[in-house]
Every structure is written in structure tokens, then in C-alpha cells.
Amino acid sequence: MVAQDRKDVPPWPRGETGMAVRIRDRAWTETPLGAIGHWPQSLKTVVDLMLASSSMMSLVWGEEAIHLYNDRFTELLREHHVDALGQSAFQTFARSRDIFAADIAAGMAGKSARLQAQRYPVQRNGRLEYAWFDVDYAPVRDEAGRVAGVLWTLRETTAQVLAERTLRESEARHRLLIGSWAQAVWETDPDGVVVTDSPSWRAYTGQTETEWLGYGWLDAIHPDDRAYAERQWREAMTIRGLVDAEFRLRAPDGGWRWTNVRAGPVLDAEGHIEKWAGINIDIDARKRAETALRDSEAKYRALFESMDEAYAVVEVLRDDHGRWADFRFVEVNPAFLQHTGMPWPVGQTVTELLGTPNPHWTKLYGQVLDTGRSIRVEESEPTLDRLFDLNIFPLDTGLHHVAVLFTNITERRRIEERVRASEAWLHLLVEGIPQLVWRSAERGQWSWASSQWQAFTGQSLTASIGRGWLDAVCSDDHDAVLRAWDGASLSGRIDVEFRVRRASDGAYVWHHMRAMPVRDDARRIVEWLGTTTDVQQLKELQERQSILVDELQHRTRNLIGVVRSMADKTARSSGDLSDFRLRFRDRLESLVRVQGLLSRLHDVDRVMFDDLIRTELSAINGGLDHVTLTGPTGVRLRSSTVQTLAMALHELATNAVKYGALGQATGHLAVTWSLEPMGDDGQPWLHIDWRESGVAMPPAGSAPKGTGQGRELIERALPYQLRARTSYQHGPDGVLCAISLPVSASKEVGAHG
């Protein structure tokens, strides 16, 4: 509108695009600058300069800092969506007012300045970012020579700033990285002389800076390695190559540490050596491990060479189908040859060496490789006639290497088998003998009992050990048993009898325990080894023997009593000594015959009546002429009755020979006997009928011939001693005698005469 006042004046500023149009069309009358037609020339000149510049420029004018700028500057405002033209810069850039307010004031005060890398917040890519600018500002004067505004020229350096920052960070990272595995970092001049300090070297070696500079670093190297290190370094200098050497460096503590030094030339743009850069890496732990490994390898080597066990490394071989088929000896120790008896095998396969070896070897080695697990096994090699105890373990599954550590146990096994056989034999013996065998500690603490003890007592092995076995011993005998054990260590033996309960019937059976101590080298008793023997039968036999001896005593003494009594009686009835002698001898002989019959008997045997009568008559009569014997055979006489009955029969027979049927040609003796039960108890009685006939008898009334002794025996002794019933009389032609006496209940079977 103002401009329209003078239509002849061409419009200002000139130009048909961008900021020229916007400045021209802005309604300036509302602003402190007033109508554009009235602007001072100095202002218009600066605006023209600005619009024509390709640099980013802006102008603030007057105290209000009214803002004018060129097209380049609008880039900064593009995303701010504000119309900054003609507005106060303080208002538009309120956020960064602190940054530039002082500069505007300085410009208004007539100063100019160049500011580098000024950072302003800028809206970009949808967010507020920092951007960096190199900024120039200068005061603009009006026609009166007073400063009326400040002109700004900006050059954005954001990309450059960010690139530098990234570079710096990258370098820091590298330093950090090197520092993490290098103990020392250093540089030398192009000739390899140290001219700059290296704190890390000083920390690593304990050298001072003075010691380090020049060639002083060589002093930090182990004397043995120094010449080598220097040579390496000078060679690298000469050929301008890399250094990679290992040697020992002094450590701050005075010891030596292995270090790996790496260095190389740093070239400038023209390819000349600018300097040498190097690092030291500590390899002490690795070096020591290597040394230890070498030492231990040497030690193991020595061990394998000298040890008694055989050792071999074999390579297991596959056939065309990929199956484990054979193996080759890679390494063996000297003991291998002794254990196997094989020739030096290294380089050869087992098939080449043995022809047809036990196929298990290859199978076992393959299995170890397949599973990666060791095997402990006993295996025999028939072609060598040996048995081995082996430890097989995987050594290198990639190379198919297996290690075998083994021993020839052929002989040991033979001995073991002999011992086992002998033990089995002993076991058989122990289990087979009738004695109950046991082992015991002191004081009857059993540790083992043979199966016989368990079978006899019904005790389990567990129940019998310790003093459990005493439970099977009759409690009446415990004292005797414990006394025996108490005195055992002193006497060195156990010898005691006691009763043991038999499980089968609960009977207590006498046993004899005997034991001997097993002693160690110091003669101390280690344990007791003993037997317990069933002595019941022996005991019974001893008792029976003692009874028999008593019985024999009794019989003998009785017999002598009888003989004496017989002698008395014979003497009383004898006319003279020769008569006595004849008759006494006669009677003694009869007694002897009876004793003979009795002595032939066993325990349950009995003298048979027919034997007795036949023996007696034959002895007296010299045969059985004129005699008839009628009766059953096998009639058993009680032993206690035999002697008395025999004596009675002897008297009868003697009288018959002297005066009766056996002394006369016409005489006849008939002895008839029978067996029949008598009395309430149905006990068998023997009835003997002695009947003489054809005998010329003395006249009636005269004294009968013969002694009264026979008659006394029959009439008094038999009833007294044998409970016999007897009768004795003189018939018209001979003696008639009847004797009935109880006999043994049983009669010999099937014997009838």
C-alpha cells in the first residue's frame, strides 16, 4: 500500500522467487521497521547482499532484533513451521536465546567474531537434533554511523564434527583393546631407538624412564635371551619387517616372565618409515605350561620305559566296509615284549604278527573308539597261550589311536585256580566230615560255623556267630564251656565236653569241643579253629562198658562164692580126699561148660535148653546112648537161671551115670520137655520131665545111692533161685524128676525138634 503510493518506483527487492518475493510482499508497516519504502539505504543494501549470497545468512535489526534472512537460511527453519521473517529473533529462537543473545549484544556493541562449532538445536527429520555451525557475525551501521543491526554468516559443520567424534571414539576403543592383551605399548624412532616414554613398559618391567630410553630396554631382557632379542630387532630394522620374538623379561618383583614382542614399522604417506610401534604380550603362563608339559612328557616317557606293566599304543584299522578289522602297533614299551613274548611289533599289524589273533582285540579297541569310554577286561591270546588283564582307553579318536595298559596274568591265574581248587577241596572236606567245624575269636566269639553245626542245631549261621552258639548248648554245661574258654588263651587249647540240643528231636547230645589257636608271627592268638564232635555214642559205650565191668565183677565174685560153697558141700559129703578131688573136679567142669555156653552169647542171645541138656549129657555120658531127648529146640533160658539149672542137671546126670539109667546096660533115660504158658501173666514155662527106666533099684527102705546134693539143688535151690517147681522121687525102675521154671518170653522162631 505504501509502495502503491509511488507507482513509478520499481518494486524492491528485485527478484521473482523465494525470499525476495516474501520480503517485498511482507506488510512491514506493522513492524518496528515500518514501510519498506522508508527503510534506510544501509538496511536495503545489506538485504540485497544477503539475498544474493549463497552462504547461509541472517540479519537482526534494531533493538528488537527483527529478523531477516536469505533463502539458504530457510533450510534451518523448514521444519519449525514458523514465519520468522520480520519477527524478533529472540522470539523465534527462544530455545537457544542463551547461546546467541550475548553475541547479538556484542555485535550491537560494534564487535565482530568468528565462532567455531557452535551447537544449536535444530528440528530435523521429525525431531530436535543438535547441529554444529561455524558462525561469523559483524555489526551493520546505518547512515548515521551507528550500529543498527548484526549480520550473521553460518556454515554448518555437523557432518565434520560427528566424523571427528567417531574417529576419536574408535581410537579410544583400539587403545582399550590393545591394552587388554598387551602388557606394554611403545614406540621408537625410525632407526629403532627409543625416544619416547612408555608408562606401560615401565609398569611391566619395573624400569625407569631413563633405563628404558635408547637401548636401555635390552637390560630388562634375561641375559640368556638378550643376544637373541637384539639380533631379532636389528634384523627387523634391516629388512623393515615385522618383529615376533619370545624371550624372558624382568618383572617388577625381580623374577622373569616370558613375553611375546610384536612390532612393525609405521609408514608415512610417502612410504617412509615414520616410526616403529610395538607391544609386549605376557605369555608366561603358556610358557610354563609348555615346560611343565614337556617335563611331564619326559617323566611319563621314563615311566613307560621303566615300568613293569606293558604299554602299547595301537592304531585301529577299518576294512573296506568301514568295520574295525585289525590294528597296528604304533608304540610299545620294553615291558610289552616281556608280557607278550612277541617280537618288536611297532609298525606291524597284529594279523601280520600273530596270523589269527583273538578277534576280540580289534572288537574291544573299536568299541573303545566308538564309545570314547575305557574298558577293563581280561582276555586271552591263544596264539601266545597267555591271559592278560587289560585297561584299554581312547587316546586319539581322530587318529583311531587306543592305549592299552596290561599285564600277563597267566601264571597268577593258574595259581589262583590252584588255590581255588584247594579251597574247594578244603571246603568239601570241612563240610563232609562229621565234626562241626567253626572259627572263633577270643572268649568263644564265633565268626563262622560249618553247615553241619547249622544242620545239627537248626541255628542259622547268623544266629550261631558271636556267642549265639551257646543257645544250642545245654544250660547246665554253660559254666564248664565258659571256664574252658576263659582259660584257653593261657593253656593254648580248648578241650571240653557239653551237651548240644539236636534240632531234629530236641534231644541233648554229648559233644566234645576241641580247638587250637591260630597264631600270627608274634605268636599272638589271631583266632581259634575248632571242631565239635558228637560223642554221644562213645559216652553210651563207655557207660555200658562200665556196667559190663560191674556185671562181670558181680558174676565173678558170685561164681567164686558158688565154687567155695560147692567145695564146702562136696567136702562135707566126700569120704576121702581122692573122692573129693574126683567129684569136685567133675562139678567144676560142669560149671566151666556152663560158663562156656554163656560166654559164647551176645547181648540178646540166650542159652537154648536143648543145647544145655545135650552138652551136659554128652560130657558126662560120653554120648547120647540110652538117651531119648524129646522137645522143641530153641527154648531160650534166662542167663541168670542157666548156671543153677545146669548144676542141677549135672547132679542128675552124674547120679544117672553112677547109679542109674546111664550106668546100667538095661537103663534108659528119657528127657522130655515142653513149653507152655502158666500163671496169670501168661509167661512161658519150661516143663522138664526126667524119667529113668530099666534101672535096678536098691531094695525099698535102704538109703538111695548118690549124694543128697543133687536132690538139695533140685528141691531147694531151683525153687529159691529160679522160682522153679520141682519134684524128685525114686520110681520102681529109676529116678523121676520134674522141673518147671519160667523162661524167656520169646522162643526162637521156626525151630521145633
Binding site: H554, G561, Y720, Q721
Partner: protein, 124 residues
């Protein structure tokens, strides 16, 4: 020796061997003793030991036809009657309760037996 006389004494004789028993009977008779028995079995001896009113002494054969005469001795001891054993056994064979009972080991003379029973009866 008057005090040792068996005259009038009632003597029980238990002896299974007839001849010995008969000898004892005769000798005791000759000493004017009254012989009770002799008996040869345990049964008869027991009967007599229980039922005879007067027994001044007893001669017991330890073995009566295979039976031991101890029960007879027990009865007699209970009745306070002195007795002697005649035995074919050695001394140790008798039960301990008869340890104080006099013993005549066979064979012995009838006289000795008669003397022994005399001593027992007269508490010597």
C-alpha cells in the same frame, strides 16, 4: 565178744544165690540168730522189710536177680534197722545216700559177714 553175739537177733537175709544164702542161713543159725528168709528176689525182700515186726539187722545182696536192693535198704534205714550190703561191685558203685552203710565185698567168708552184721547191730 559177748556183746557181739547174734544170739536171738532177727536177721533178714536177702541173697539171690542159693548156695550163699543157704550158707548164711546155716552159719547164722549156728550163731543162734533167727534168720528171716533168706529171700532171693527184690519182691520178697521188700515184702519182708515192710511186714516183719522185728528185724534187728539185715544182710542185703545189692544185686537180687538183676534188681538192685536199694529200695529195701531205704525202708530199713527209715525203720532204723542196721544193715550191711554184700556186693560184687567195687565200693564206688553205691549211691551216695548209702555212703555210711557197711559193705562186705564178695567173695567173703560167712564169718566175716556175721561179724560185720554183729558190729552194725551193736553200733560199733
Amino acid at each position: 565178744m559177748a556183746e557181739r553175739t547174734l544170739s536171738g537177733c532177727h536177721i533178714l537175709v536177702a541173697e539171690d544165690e542159693f548156695l550163699i544164702a543157704d550158707d548164711l542161713r546155716i552159719e547164722l543159725g549156728e550163731a543162734d540168730a533167727v534168720v528171716l528168709g533168706p529171700v532171693g528176689t527184690l519182691r520178697e525182700a521188700l515184702e519182708m522189710a515192710r511186714s516183719e515186726r522185728r528185724i534187728d539187722g539185715a544182710i542185703l545182696d545189692v544185686n537180687l536177680g538183676g534188681d538192685l536192693a536199694y529200695p529195701v535198704a531205704d525202708i530199713l534205714i527209715e525203720r532204723g534197722i542196721p544193715l550191711i550190703f554184700t556186693t560184687g561191685y567195687e565200693g564206688g558203685a553205691l549211691p551216695t545216700r548209702f555212703a555210711t552203710v557197711a559193705r562186705c565185698e564178695k567173695p567173703t567168708t560167712i564169718t566175716r559177714i556175721a561179724q560185720a552184721i554183729g558190729r552194725v547191730i551193736h553200733r560199733e
